[in-house]
């Protein structure tokens, strides 16, 4: 652990005017999706480095992890001729596939709306600005629905009070990643705030990728689709024949 800490310490550049800096450690900066992958828990910890006395105002920490963004299509069902059918739809140019925000106290206490606008920290900020123009009338209903659905399935998490801050210097939290992760770079940002103002921030990536058999099958399905399809069929025919043969043996024997 000390080695990781030391490593990050060396990585941190020294801005001339910053008074407080984040020194960060991660339990893992690589998430490998294997055949037995069932979600992952990432421990994020660190310290605040400063060369002056601790200010009066209490220190708060916000940690945000954002997965790769993808376009999405949202549809709303309406009742027509007595049955429920997809009626209106809204295209969202880009929305993160995963987004978790952990804070030391309620988000609205530790982050001024203006600062949220500037840094784009809250979950709403990560999607709201990217809706196709035109369908503006009830676009808000649609983005709220997206937040609601993704929050219900655990893809979007707001973890208020989940960051522990000790002596205004040490902080730590853990964020659980669900099993339906999209591969890619997960942008991890840490913000230090005082009275709602961001005083310092730090960013590091976490890589999520399939490995081993999962990687092999995925690539095969994408790059040699015909071969993969024939392989699936061969497997199906073989399994069908095998089961039949085994049952026949059991019956005869």
């Amino acid at each position: 652990m000390m080695r990781i800490l030391l490593f990050f310490l060396m990585m941190v550049p020294l801005p001339l005017l910053a008074k407080e800096e984040v020194v960060l450690g991660l339990s893992q900066d690589n998430v490998a999706i294997t055949a037995r992958f069932d979600g992952s828990e990432i421990l994020i910890f660190g310290a605040v480095k400063r060369e002056h006395r601790i200010p009066e105002e209490p220190l708060d920490v916000i940690i945000a992890i954002a997965g790769p963004s993808e376009p999405a299509k949202l549809r709303r069902k309406d009742r027509k001729f007595g049955i429920w059918v997809n009626a209106a739809s809204v295209d969202i140019i880009s929305a993160p596939t995963f987004y978790a925000v952990a804070t030391s106290r309620p988000l609205e206490t530790v982050l001024h709306p203006f600062e949220d606008l500037r840094y784009g920290i809250s979950i709403e900020r990560s999607i709201r600005a990217t809706i196709t123009p035109g369908m503006t009338e009830n676009a808000k209903d649609f983005t709220e629905a997206l937040l609601r659905i993704r929050q219900a399935e655990g893809s979007y998490q707001l973890l208020e009070g989940a960051v522990n801050v000790d002596q205004q210097t040490l902080f730590r939290t853990s964020i659980s990643l669900p099993s339906n992760l999209t591969e890619g770079t997960y942008r991890t940002r840490i913000y230090l705030t005082r009275a709602g103002e961001v005083v310092s921030h730090f960013e590091t990536p976490i890589n999520v990728s399939k490995v081993g058999l999962e990687r092999f099958l995925y690539n095969l399905a994408q790059e040699h689709a015909a071969l993969y399809g024939l392989m699936s069929l061969a497997l199906a025919v073989f399994a069908g024949w095998l089961a039949s043969a085994i049952f026949r043996l059991i019956r005869l024997g």
């Binding site: 037995r36 979600g39 339906n180 399905a221 199906a236 039949s244």
Partner: protein, 307 residues
């Protein structure tokens, strides 16, 4: 035991998949239906993206049908000649069906049309079969088990290009089976299933084939249609999930063997009543989904495969 599915990109309990495959396999063995109209909705329920569920269940249908077919082949319950004729019509029909499907897709609302198709066909076929087989059961009881089947002569017998189907004991024109194959293939492609639940009643009631032969012959035909569908999905959409298919088919092939043995013990009329009830149950479930207000009005389609 959780396993991660590389194409579906989700982690699922392996025993749950084995169980799902098993249930559908048993039904497939009993009734000679591929089970596509059952397994696809079940996979949605587990959380597999729809596109992956449709493509992978086609692959699983191949496996359970092969397993069932071998059992029927040994009992000489497969009319190969009839199977090839149906298949010829079926492949042309499914190519035609894919065309219709893509046209509807470009107009939007393909989802709704598929559902309405399900409700209509399952409802009509299910209720027809239920009434007919219940009547047959009652008649059987009254006649003390002896049935004198009245062979009706209709256009199936009078049309040209007659051929002898020895296993089925039929001497009919090849045009009706070709047409049946074509229509079923077309519907199967639009509805994304093997088409057994339409094929089985069509063979019994339109072609007048004996129930004993119908199931093996239907399985024979389904194997090719499902294999064709699997390849098409694998090549164009990359949505066949091999590990998912593997777990489903291990459960499925075992289930199919058990199902075939259950099927042999049941009387033809009982078999038909049960299949009719099953078809009606799925029909009612899909109809209710359309009629009852959903708890979440909004749906998200995000991944490339789910579109």
């Amino acid at each position: 035991m959780q396993i991660y599915l590389p194409i579906a990109e989700i982690s699922v309990n392996a025993f749950l998949l084995l169980g799902l495959g098993g249930i559908v396999g048993v039904l497939s063995g009993i009734f000679g239906v591929g089970g596509g109209f059952l397994i696809t909705p079940l996979l949605f329920f587990v959380g597999i993206p729809p596109a992956v569920a449709v493509a992978t269940s086609a692959n699983q249908i191949v496996a359970s049908s092969v397993s069932g077919l071998f059992a029927h082949l040994r009992r000489k319950n497969v009319d190969m000649k009839m199977g090839w004729v149906l298949l010829a019509g079926g492949l042309v029909g499914s190519a035609f069906g894919v065309g219709i499907f893509n046209y509807l897709k470009s107009m939007g609302q393909v989802d709704l049309l598929v559902r309405l198709c399900y409700v209509l066909f399952l409802g009509v076929i299910g209720s027809l079969m239920l009434f007919e087989s219940l009547r047959a059961l009652r008649r059987n009881k009254l006649a003390g088990g002896v049935v004198i089947k009245k062979r009706s002569r209709n256009w199936v017998h009078t049309a040209p290009l007659k051929a002898r189907f020895r296993t089925s004991g039929l001497y009919i024109s090849v045009i009706p089976p070709l047409l049946v194959g074509f229509c079923v293939g077309m519907l199967a492609a639009v509805m994304g299933v093997g088409g057994g639940f339409i094929m089985v009643p069509a063979m019994i009631y339109i072609l007048g084939m004996p129930t004993r032969v119908v199931i093996g012959t239907s399985l024979f035909q389904i194997i090719f249609v499902a294999a064709f569908t699997t390849l098409l999905h694998a090549i164009t959409n990359h949505t066949v999930d091999l590990p998912l298919a593997l777990f489903l088919l291990v459960g499925g092939v075992l289930g199919a063997q058990i199902g075939t043995r259950i099927g042999v013990k049941l009387k033809a009329e009982q078999l038909r009543v049960l299949l009719a009830l099953l078809v009606m149950a799925v029909c009612v479930k899909i109809a209710l989904e359309l009629l009852i207000e959903p708890s979440e009005l909004y749906t998200v389609a995000s991944r490339a495969g789910a579109k």
